[in-house]
């Protein structure tokens, strides 16, 4: 529909998988699963819930009549109660037992934790996709010298592949954070209205043990390591802040990458992929703009501006809960996941199609390298019988002149020609040129790339497969 607002994250940017994760169907499907887990556990603990109730719930986990829900919601002005009734309509035997003893936060909060955990899994997969693309890139260009930049000024050489490992390592660190957060993320569990479990103590006629078991059983069914030991009505919003900070970390890593690509494209050294019919500029037809990297920068700034929001929400939750978290979380949590999903998709796409322009790189190296080779040039002069202090002064004088010439329009850096023409320096041009072979200036960059891929990236991919295949074997 074009006559009402719709979110660009849904319309343009995020993946189908991430959109489905945050969809009403997934969320309310989880609510029904949580009601099923509660009923199953209550029954195992002796509440007389008939088989038919459990079976009807099981059979209708994903058959949600959203029209019926909307009608109930209009009547009750309460989303959870609307869903309880709509579920009860299709599972009549379960109707008397759905949501027994629970407060709304039982389904809303626990579902949010499940959704965030699955969101982290999806983002982790996306980050691995980027790493796969960059692995190929880093491997291919590991020996290609290129100007390094510090302070945004030309500095000693590195290699194109080595620079890619800097982007990769950031993502590896993000993945390690995801793994940690995901592993320890607790469940809100079964806690009741103010978190005291009073309603459940009532249900089990004062049997504290059964109440504790209920909390643990539901937590186990939903595959969480443990319930939070204590809660108010909701789980502490600190958990949101922790999770979203990891998400924002991914966005920041991608933003750093996008900044590098945008500048490299400006220098002409590298370009992000450009489709054959893509239009760079409506006015300047020849232009190729780094629009995908710019979009990463744009979305990442959005994500990073939301990160602090989660801590602020936590800070203003008063006593056992206030509702001023609700509308805010409804926006912030999905949007951070959706935007970061879009960011990583873009980063994958760029990484798969990065173009490297070696001629431009060589030209830019040639313009700067003679200035960086002072030490090597001095050594050549001294070996030919020169004086170190005299050679240094000669180089200093000619460097300043060559730099001035370039600023005044000279095409190339002619420092070596000037030195070769200066008899006091005493080294032939051929020998001087040998001193500035770029491969002599890249240190261990190619080896570092190989080591990084071998020691960090390969095990990460292997661990990923093993992790999926043998999740429960990691116990020992």
């Amino acid at each position: 529909m074009t006559n009402i607002y719709s979110s660009p994250l849904a319309e343009r940017y995020a993946s189908q998988a991430m959109l489905e994760l945050w969809s009403p169907a997934t969320r309310y499907g989880l609510w029904r699963r949580l009601w099923l887990a509660l009923a199953e556990s209550e029954r195992e603990l002796g509440i007389p819930i008939p088989d038919a109730a459990i079976q009807q719930m099981r059979d209708n986990l994903d058959k949600i009549d959203f029209k019926a829900v909307a009608a109930y919601e209009k009547r009750f002005r309460h989303d959870v109660m609307a869903h309880v009734h709509a579920f009860g309509d299709v599972a009549p035997a379960a109707k008397p037992f759905i949501h027994l003893g629970a407060t709304s936060a039982y389904v809303t909060d626990n579902a949010d934790l499940i959704l965030m955990r699955r969101g982290l899994d999806l983002l982790r997969g996306r980050a691995l996709d980027v790493l796969r693309a960059l692995t190929t890139f880093a491997e291919r260009w590991r020996e290609q010298p290129t100007l390094g930049y510090t302070h945004l000024q030309p500095a000693q050489l590195t290699t194109v592949g080595k620079r890619a490992t800097l982007w990769m390592q950031d993502l590896v660190l993000d993945i390690e954070e995801i793994d940690y957060r995901r592993r320890i993320l607790p469940f809100r569990g079964v806690k009741g209205t103010t978190g005291t479990q009073a309603s459940f103590l009532e249900l089990f006629e004062g049997d504290h043990d059964k109440v504790q078991r209920l909390d643990r059983m539901v937590t186990e069914k939903m595959s969480f390591p443990a319930p939070l030991p204590v809660t108010g009505q909701t789980y502490t919003r600190k958990l949101d802040a922790f999770v979203l900070s990891v998400v924002a970390g991914l966005a920041a890593s991608a933003a750093k990458f996008s900044g590098d690509i945008r500048m490299l494209q400006s220098f002409g050294e590298m370009e992000e992929p450009f489709e054959s019919e893509q239009v760079g500029s409506s006015a300047m037809a020849y232009k190729r703009n780094p629009m995908r990297s710019e979009r990463i920068a744009s979305l990442a700034r959005f994500v990073n501006s939301l990160e602090g929001n989660a801590n602020q929400t936590h800070a203003v939750q008063y006593f056992e809960r206030t509702l001023d978290d609700s509308a805010n979380r409804r926006l912030v949590i999905p949007e951070m996941f959706l935007a970061t999903d879009a960011i990583l998709l873009l980063m994958s796409n760029i990484s798969l199609g990065l173009e490297v322009h070696t001629a431009v790189i060589a030209r830019r190296i040639a313009a700067e390298l003679p200035f960086m080779a002072t030490e090597q040039l001095i050594v050549r002069a001294v070996k030919k019988g020169g004086d170190r202090q005299v050679a240094h002064e000669t180089i200093r004088k000619h460097s300043l002149e060559a730099a001035r010439a370039m600023k005044e329009g000279a095409e190339a850096n002619d420092l070596l020609d000037r030195l070769a023409g200066d008899t006091s320096f005493g080294v032939k041009l051929k020998d001087l040129a040998g001193a500035i072979d770029p491969k002599r200036f890249i240190g261990r960059a190619p080896e570092q790339v190989e080591e990084f891929l071998r020691d960090v990236i390969t095990p990460l991919f292997a661990g990923h497969t093993a992790k999926q295949e043998r999740a429960e074997e990691l116990r020992v």
Binding site: R216, V456, R475, V476
Partner: protein, 309 residues
Amino acid sequence: MKESALPLEPFRRGKVRDVYIVDDERLLLVATDRVSAFDVVMSEAVPHKGAVLTQITAWWLTTLAPRIDHHMLSADASEIVREVPQLRGREKEIAGRAMLCRRATVFPIECVVRGYLSGSAWLEYRQHGTLAGEPLPKGLRESDRLDPPLFSPSSKADVGHDENITISRMRSVVGERWASKLENLSREIYQTARGIAAERGIIVADTKFEFGRATDSDGTEKVILVDEVLTPDSSRFWAADSHEPGHAPPSFDKQPLRDYLASEKRAARWDGNYPPPPLPPEVIDATSKRYLEIYSRLTGHPLNTDGAL
């Protein structure tokens, strides 16, 4: 049986075992038949699994007894009922699965011994060439035998999975004296058990021990072995003939269950989350048989399942 409900004060409930307080000196450990795979708890119980876990522990403790002090007082239901009269009439619920134990102050460390490179140890080694931060020889393959076995303690995390820790970290948690005692005991028990199991065609790839401190009537304090011992749940068991370096052998106990769940996933009938698919009786039966087989392979005789619930 998935949940025990005995007329005793509950002490702690784990993923599989329920612990009750009998009195100041004694606890009752009850292993249920709950089972999980791919991080999801199954709706069905695996018959006899709890009894297998308890009786394997009992068998090991009896076998190792001359060498090691332990917490077991009895794993025999009628004897337990004589000792704990509150359990009269509940024999069927506890048959095979309950163990009456001496209370001890448990060290907050899981003493893991690895005789083969597998699981999280293999992942760490492949990533960093280390185990618990200590370098290992280069060029090891998955499932390679480690000689001597490696001691790699882990912390008992309140939330989440246990974390591997370094031995020096363990020293600062339990103190120098106890740390070396626990390490030596763990290695010694594992080495002995590895040999005994190998004679019966079972490889104990790795295992996890827990120890506690207990004071004897004469006032001397000693370290005793507690918790479950060398069971399929606390160890990684492989059939000797399925072991091949470079590969992860099938799990002795849960493979039928895992194969079934994997096929349900492939057929898109299960998304890997709660609720798990209902298990067909033949899968439950096959898994149960695997547990019983481990028991009979180890001990040389079948588990007595008479009278059990």
